[in-house]
């Protein structure tokens, strides 16, 4: 049983190797486009597009949505949205190669799947909100910011992980 688990775990790349390749991708991204990677921006575009489709007047009048609505083209026609589509496909390919494609809820054996999903939803809401406040998430603000030594990137990174460690104790039952 344990052996099987071990085999399964080892199929992930060595983290240093993954990190090295990720660093190269960041360099390539900066070299080609002049800006870094991102992920939460795609979510924002999706939300803006959805609100614009459901309630266009509301989207126009809202100070935040209206920043991202342009005359020409949908807000979904953005760099980060295309990048996010690439992420989905790339992750799917990697998961397919390693045989990790499976529809399931991953959770600690100590909690129920339902509790995990509720937590995931709360976490998602918080993360989505925080990413807008900080103008970027772990990839957009912290990782890409650190690559060009942006002060904000380091501050955001420290805030994310620092708070994560502080809060970890209270959430330990969910994970270990």
């Amino acid at each position: 049983m344990e052996k099987e688990k071990k085999v399964k775990r080892s199929v992930y790349w060595n983290p240093y190797f993954g990190g090295f390749l990720l660093g190269l991708v960041i360099i390539f991204t900066f070299y080609i486009t002049g800006r870094g990677l991102g992920a939460s921006g795609a979510m924002k575009s999706a939300v803006v597009a959805a609100v614009d489709a459901v309630a266009p007047e509301h989207a126009e009048s809202n100070a935040y949505y209206s920043k991202f609505i342009t005359e020409e083209g949908s807000p979904l026609n953005a760099w980060l949205v295309w990048e996010a589509l690439g992420v989905l496909v790339g992750a799917f390919v990697s998961g397919a190669i390693s045989g990790r494609l499976k529809l399931k809820v991953q959770h600690s054996p100590k909690i129920t799947a339902k509790r995990r999903l509720v937590m995931a939803l709360i976490g998602g809401v918080l993360f989505g909100f925080g990413a807008q406040v900080a103008r970027g998430c772990t990839s957009g603000a912290a990782l890409s910011g650190m690559a060009v030594l942006a002060t904000g990137g380091f501050v955001t990174m420290l805030a994310i992980f620092g708070t994560g460690y502080l809060a970890a104790y209270f959430f330990r039952k969910n994970w270990i």
């Binding site: 775990r9 992930y12 790349w13 983290p15 993954g18 990720l22 991708v25 960041i26 360099i27 900066f30 080609i32 800006r35 992920a39 795609a42 809202n62 100070a63 990048e83 589509l85 690439g86 992420v87 989905l88 790339g90 992750a91 390919v93 998961g95 390693s98 990790r100 494609l101 529809l103 399931k104 809820v105 991953q106 600690s108 995990r116 995931a120 939803l121 976490g123 998602g124 918080l126 989505g128 909100f129 925080g130 900080a134 103008r135 970027g136 772990t138 957009g140 910011g145 060009v148 942006a150 002060t151 904000g152 501050v155 955001t156 420290l158 805030a159 708070t163 994560g164 809060a167 970890a168």
Partner: protein, 196 residues
């Protein structure tokens, strides 16, 4: 002379093709490093798996060292690269909210996408949560927008804020990262193993 698209060396129509290609590589690497698993990601906070720390800092170091070498060789003009603007208050508060979100939800936006791609239902719910979070933010934007521009330092970099040359900062980060990797392995050896 990079960056290529802003300098018109690659026509702008290629922007979206390149976006997909970069996304492909990004998603593949994240998934292959195990970032589609929330329990692996969260391991960094409980000491049973430091993949996040290792991947994150290795990537940051490789990219900053690489970019500064490329700048030295004039392959890329580092002053033309987009520097994430620093708004101190929102960076700290936003980061703290994200930190709590991370430990609660077990993902961050990029990794949740990889989870979605391989069929993790918790990742899908997390992504839905992300969108709800963005929606709530937009709806109360007028209330909180004065706060968001507090502590505006513009597109400042660490060497400018600290007054230390960039190369010294990079060297310090490299040493700190290797120390962190070393200690993370020690911690991991002492912490009870968690299988997932």
């Amino acid at each position: 002379m990079g960056p290529l698209i802003p300098n018109g060396i690659i026509p702008e129509q290629w922007d979206f093709v390149i976006a997909i290609l970069i996304g492909l590589a990004f998603g593949f690497i994240l998934e292959a490093s195990g970032f589609s698993s929330s329990r692996k990601l969260v391991g960094v906070f409980y000491g049973y798996d430091f993949a996040v720390l290792k991947v994150f800092f290795t990537a940051a170091l490789v990219s900053m060292i690489g970019l500064y070498y490329m700048d030295y060789l004039s392959w890329v003009d580092i002053t033309q690269l987009y520097v994430h603007p620093t708004f101190m208050a929102s960076a700290i508060i936003g980061g703290m909210i994200m930190g709590v979100g991370f430990i609660t939800g077990g993902f961050c936006p990029g990794t949740s996408l990889t989870g979605v791609a391989i069929g993790k239902i918790d990742a899908m719910v997390f992504t839905l949560g992300l969108m709800i979070g963005v929606f709530i933010f937009s709806e109360i934007y007028n209330l909180i927008s004065p706060f968001l521009t507090r502590g505006d330092y513009g597109n400042i970099t660490l060497d400018e804020s600290l007054g230390i040359p960039a190369d010294m900062i990079i060297l310090a980060i490299a040493i700190a990262a290797i120390a962190a990797f070393y200690f993370s392995d020690i911690v991991r050896g002492k912490v009870k193993k968690v299988f997932y």
